[in-house]
Amino acid sequence: MNKQLIRLAVTASFSSFLWSCNQSDPAPKGDYVQGIFVINEGNFSQNNGAISFFTREQTTSEADIFTTVNGAPANGGIQGYAEVGERGVILVDNSASGLDKAVIVNSNTFETVTTIGASEIENPREIVAAGNKVYISCWGSNSDYSYKTGYIAVIELPSNRFVKKININSGPENLVYNNGKLYVGTVSYGGGKMLTVINTSTDEIEKTVTLNAAPSPIGIDANGKLWVNVGTQAIRMNTETYAEEATLAIGTNPSKSASNFVFSSDRKTIFFVLSYSDANFVSHGETYKFGITDAQIDVNTPFIKRIFTGLSVDPSQGLIYAAVTPSYAQAGYAVRYRTDGSLVDSVKVGVAPTGFFFK
């Protein structure tokens, strides 16, 4: 009797499987299938970070899609967002200890699937997708600000399984994934000088490369070379030997700092912000660019005469998305530029935008 029932069930499910295979591949359903996701850090003590969303045609955004869909905000500063198929992972950094988390959502509807809490994700910084996993740089508790409790958290999707922590000293920050390797940089004030390479099939540290300052990996260029920002230099590196193939100075003024490096959509140009604070703590600076085969970086000719709190390039249209934070107590803007530096428009987003996710 039981066997018959099972046989019936198997037959039924098999035929429904065949029937579903018969259908053309269904388009994903949801309000957030295609468009621009803006990562807004919010004001730290107010825990009011948000993800804003707009489509490429729109000039106004939905300021906080997570709250719209789920009825309550993510409850913290938003540090990053990445997707693996139908899963999206949001990094949430609350001002109080113990309330940080990675929220896993349906990437098309933004409905919460599950949450991985502070014992696994504490002081999250950046996230990158690699295959069916996401890698999250975390500072750990870091209560004495000595940056000794950091790690990379690994989450497998769509099983939502927390795989492991890989310890990284000195405040792990920027992440770049390419071809089975995760490159991990550290914050400039973390005291470290090591670029860590993690093998993503074993999730073990494969190599550490010592540089002359804290490294921040930028990405892989059109020729398959790794670019790393190290102090006041941009370094082009061989991804097998880790040999420095080119070292470009970013100006000669040590009081200026370079940040927000991003590749153009053809991966042949790198844009970045070069800024400094004057005696009154007013930030000044401009945005510059250089080519991946240039012999030097021209910091006399700004590409855009402004600084930004975030910079990204839309891989499908090639437009530059720049984030503007007027203050931590009012909404910021996403400003769009063409690749020649001319302004397209600006879209009001959430508080303190720092990054973009395109799909």
């Binding site: 009825g71 109080a96 200890s97 209560s143 703590f281």
Partner: protein, 654 residues
């Protein structure tokens, strides 16, 4: 003792007047005796009461039954129900700052027996650290009274007072047990004795201990987190009064308070502890028309994260001395002028880790003349003048003019018109001046003009009922508003100009019928507090917008009914939405809270037992604090106060 004084100085320049009158305090009387045109008599006024010179301003005295209802709570719980003050609350037992008439937390002067007890480094008071058990009297003064009480009184002032006890012996012990394993314990002794025919001694000793563990049975409400926190609060109040038949009064006051707040206490790596201690001491000596006051206040803040053994340590000392003299002048037509002339000198010393030097100190001085002219039985006028002096600094000259006029004055009905215009200022906090890099030694004092008019009416239709109504409209523009500018790495600057304007309506009814008593109070306030000037290219998004965490509408309703010694009280308060960002793009929703209190007292001749039961947030309303975390839902509290009172009254000399 009579002092002869030339009145013609009123014709001279304002500042000169202040200097003359106040320096006149120290000059022997015979030097002053010249060309007398009018006689100024010294007058003895007991108590601290700066309210006497606040004519034209709205002053609300909180009655003792309200204070008794809130005996185990902190002052913000009481004020949010009885006044339109808006609180910026970080959670139960956590930081709680005030917005008075749409101003910032730095714009409310909190005075303890006339001494400003705002933290000198922060320029504000955390109201979660002020339990109602810490004082005997509470008045709220609305609008700028900087000419009377000095710096910080821009939006208004909170006046806390100690009073000499009435009974020769009164002992009480009280305990409140609340939901979430929270509790409060209090001990009070009041005593007094006529030592000999010429001297009376009295005093009060009181101790309180609060343990707010916040062990909520839920970790979130409507998906919003409950932030784990615990607060331990302890305090000791000591007041001593010695009064003589010939007009001398000596009093000593000590208020020591400790407040230890820990966020996420179970997380040993990430917990955050803020341990504040305040030692407040004061000696006040009054001899006839002279009053001398000396006080020393030490504020300590220890902040630590993770490892609590090595906190950041900040200590500030404030040593303040004040001498005042009261005069009374009776004019021909029976009108009279009361004048208080005074001078104050304060020394500040701060040891704060982030400051430009290990120890920073400064001197501040104030000279002032306060007057109250009872021109006719219907008309009362106050003119008050103040000039403050600060090391390396120039605060503005601060005058004010206020008047009250009875339009109708009958035994059963009166209607009074009030009006006031006054300058206000706020001396920058020590953080604003001395914080390394981010502070600004050249920052200007904020200053503004407050204007208000109002009506007050009282109606007593019979012996049982009384009605009270007050309606006030105000307009308060504050210039050089300081701001820790996030776009300049949080450096402090005079960047904004704010206009706060609004209307306040308060009405009350009381009924007294033999064994039955009942009453109700209703209050509504409309406050538009907007930025008029701001600082950068994106300020267009901010100008004209309501200030953050300042609700446009607030209201409350309190009603009670009492039969003999049993009383039932219902309290409602409502707040409209509060914006969380300067451009008003984010906000916290408005909410309404209701509480129910029942109490009964068993009177066993000299011993009384008071039982009280309380249901807070009876409708389990969901609302948020400024951290975007949920506030607790419905909670319960029961308390018992056992008191012993001897029937003998203490005889004081009038």
């Amino acid at each position: 003792m009579l002092i002869h004084y030339t009145f013609s100085v009123f014709n001279k320049r304002k500042l000169l007047l202040i200097l003359s009158v106040t320096t006149g305090l120290f000059v022997p009387e015979n030097v002053q005796a010249q060309n007398d045109s009018v006689r100024l008599e010294p007058v003895t006024v007991r108590g601290f009461a700066p309210e006497r010179f606040m004519s034209g301003l709205k002053v609300q005295k909180i009655d003792s039954s309200a204070l008794s209802n809130f005996h185990f709570q902190n002052i913000s719980d009481l004020l949010s129900l009885y006044t339109p003050l808006a609180f910026k609350n970080y959670g139960h037992g956590q930081l709680n700052t005030v917005s008075f008439r749409g101003t910032s937390a730095n714009h409310t002067a909190v005075l303890w027996n006339g001494l400003n007890i705002n933290s000198p480094i922060l320029g504000q008071t955390d109201f979660s650290t002020i339990p109602v058990a810490g004082f005997d009297e509470l008045s709220v003064q609305y609008g700028s009274a900087a000419s009377i009480v000095g710096s910080d009184a821009v939006g208004g002032s909170i006046l806390l007072g100690s009073t000499a006890p009435a009974q020769s012996l009164h002992l009480s012990i009280g305990r409140q047990q609340e939901s979430f394993n929270n509790s409060q314990t209090q001990l009070t002794a009041q005593y007094g004795k006529v030592i000999n025919p010429k001297y009376t001694f009295s005093g009060k000793t009181s101790a309180y201990d609060g343990r707010i563990r916040n062990e909520y049975p839920y970790t979130e409400r409507r998906k919003y987190a409950m932030l784990p926190s615990e607060t331990f609060q302890r305090g000791l109040v000591q007041d001593l009064f010695l009064q003589s038949e010939n007009g001398r009064e000596l009093s000593a006051h000590i208020w020591i308070t400790e407040n230890n707040l820990t966020l996420t206490p179970k997380d040993t790596a990430g917990r955050e502890q803020t341990f504040t201690k305040a030692y407040r001491t004061m000696i006040r000596y009054q001899y006839k028309a002279f009053t001398f006051r000396t006080s020393w206040v030490r504020d300590i803040i220890d902040y630590a994260k993770g490892d609590l053994s090595r906190p950041d340590h900040a200590v500030t000392d404030k040593f303040a001395n004040r001498l005042e003299r009261d005069f009374k002048l009776t004019l021909k037509n029976n009108s009279s002028i009361q004048i208080k002339a005074g001078g104050e000198w304060t020394y500040y010393r701060a040891q704060v880790a982030g400051y430009i030097s290990p120890v920073n100190s400064e001197n501040r001085g104030d000279l002032y003349v306060l007057t109250r002219l009872q021109a006719t039985t219907r008309l009362l006028v106050s003119v008050n003048l103040r000039q403050a002096f600060i090391t390396r600094y120039n605060p503005p000259f601060t005058p004010s003019l206020g008047a009250e006029y009875y339009l109708i004055r009958n035994p059963d009905y009166n209607l009074k018109f009030k009006g006031s215009v006054g300058k206000s200022y706020r001396v920058p906090t020590l953080n604003e001046r001395y914080w390394k890099d981010l502070g600004n030694p050249d920052i200007k004092p904020e200053n503004g003009w407050n204007k208000e008019i109002g009506f007050e009416q009282n109606y007593l239709p019979d012996n049982q009922n009384s009605f009270y109504t007050s309606l006030t409209a105000y307009h308060n523009r504050i210039k050089d508003w300081t701001y820790w500018n996030a776009s300049r790495n949080y450096r402090v600057e005079n960047l904004q100009q704010v206009l706060a304007k609004g209307i306040e309506l308060q009405a009350g009814w009381k009924n007294n019928l033999a064994a039955w008593k009942s009453g109700a109070n209703i209050s509504y306030a409309l406050n538009k507090s907007t930025q008029e000037k701001a600082y950068d290219a994106y300020s267009i998004d901010v100008i004209g917008k309501q200030l953050v965490f300042v609700p446009v509408h607030t209201g409350s309703f309190i009603a009670f009914v009492q039969h003999n010694h049993t009383r039932l009280t219902a309290q409602f308060q409502t707040t409209s939405k509060r914006f969380a960002t300067f451009d008003n793009s984010q906000y916290l929703n408005g909410f309404m809270l209701a509480n129910l209190l029942a109490e009964t007292t068993f009177d066993l001749s000299k011993v009384k037992l008071r039982f009280q039961g309380q249901i807070n947030n009876i409708s389990d309303t969901f609302y948020l604090n400024v951290r975007n975390n949920a506030m607790p839902g419905r909670s319960f509290a029961v308390s018992l106060i056992i008191s012993y009172q001897s029937p003998d009254k203490i005889k004081y000399f009038l």
